[in-house]
Amino acid sequence: MKAKIRKVAVFLEETLSEMGRTVDPPTRRAAAAAVIENPYAGRYVEDLSELMDIGEELGELLTQKAVAALGITANTAESYGKAAAVGENGELEHAAAILHPKLGTPVRRVLGKGAALIPSSKKRGACGLSLDIPLGHKDAAFVRSHFDGMEVRINDAPRANEILVAIAVTDSGRPLPRVGGLTKSQIKGEDGLR
């Protein structure tokens, strides 16, 4: 692996009730996060290709870990998202290099499909920051029941020379969706939008 990983964390959330109402079956989200060394920390580097390759590696690793945490067959995943936080000696663009050029292909390969854009967010900050990973349906971005977000946080990351990279996968949408819009039963799955 090109990535120098210090730690990997996996988060699994199951929501069994909201406002006193039972959620049946429970909605489930998983996120896997890796804390890696930032090879470009402390200096401006024009060519970011090493981080792009690291993104490809982490795309596969973190998706597999999230799917394993959910305990589902990968092709039954419903929504996904990705995010990265760069330590203070790095640059926002380092997060972009990990997330955007190469990370998505292995995510989709593991999940079997994924016509929709993988929603993302990024930031720079200190240890213990929280990262809100946006979530959207993997085959049709406009499925309103699956617009969501998952917060992850690791108390000792990212250190100044590190990057925290996270991928979230779910097997469901929000717990009690009732604001209308496109439903998953209406997905055509051709253009990634509807």
């Binding site: 640059e91 929603p119 990262l131 617009f147 604001v179």
Partner: protein, 194 residues
């Protein structure tokens, strides 16, 4: 349906000149409009909540207008956007989903029929909770230079029976964008994706 009761509003502006690399003559500007409103559904499970979206529509438009005004008044400078919501702890994640339609369409209309889906995230949290709002290009979601995010929050909001609503706009790409992908100059502008 209940009226929109506003407790406070906040506008945030960031002018970004560089991030360790070449200094840009024109800063990238990120702006956020936040509003803290009463959650009419706090404290109990309410089945029919969707009509509140109608009440939020004119409010969303006024937030979008105030944000464009803060960015100088010309909607044509806006190149990226996003939205999000934090629901106070006596509310439910689904209450945040009420913001999708009014928040999204307000910006798209104001910006002259922007074509791309407005990326979003949401969570439940206590006063002071921070939210990373994802940002993408207003006319083509896949424009890689415009994948961005802005962290927002208010120290005393949302209270348990409140919702913090947020809209975000940017005036250009990340300040040192250099990870390739679809360029803003290559947008076809037909499907909202490319």
């Amino acid at each position: 349906m209940p009226e929109v009761r506003v407790r406070k509003k906040l506008i945030l502006l960031e002018d970004i000149f560089h991030e360790g690399g070449p200094v840009s003559a024109v800063p990238q500007r990120r702006g956020a409009a936040l509003a803290v409103i009463h959650n009419p559904f706090a404290g109990a499970y309410v089945e029919n909540i969707a009509e509140f979206m109608e009440d939020l529509k004119p409010f969303g438009l006024s937030m979008a207008q105030s944000l464009v005004a803060a960015l100088g008044g010309d909607p044509r400078v806006v190149e990226g956007y996003g939205k999000g919501a934090i629901v106070g702890t006596a509310g439910e994640l689904e209450h945040g989903a009420l913001w999708h339609v009014p928040g999204g369409y307000a910006m798209r209309d104001l910006l002259g029929g922007a074509k791309a889906i407005v990326p979003s995230t949401k969570k439940v949290g206590a006063p002071g909770t921070r939210l990373d709002i994802p940002i993408t290009h207003v006319n083509a979601s896949y424009v890689r230079s415009h994948f961005d995010a802005m962290e927002v929050g208010i120290n005393d909001a949302p209270g348990a029976d409140e919702i913090l609503l947020a809209l975000v706009m940017t005036t250009g790409p990340r300040i040192h964008a250099r990870v390739g992908g679809l360029k803003a100059s290559e947008i076809k502008g037909e499907d909202g994706l490319r």
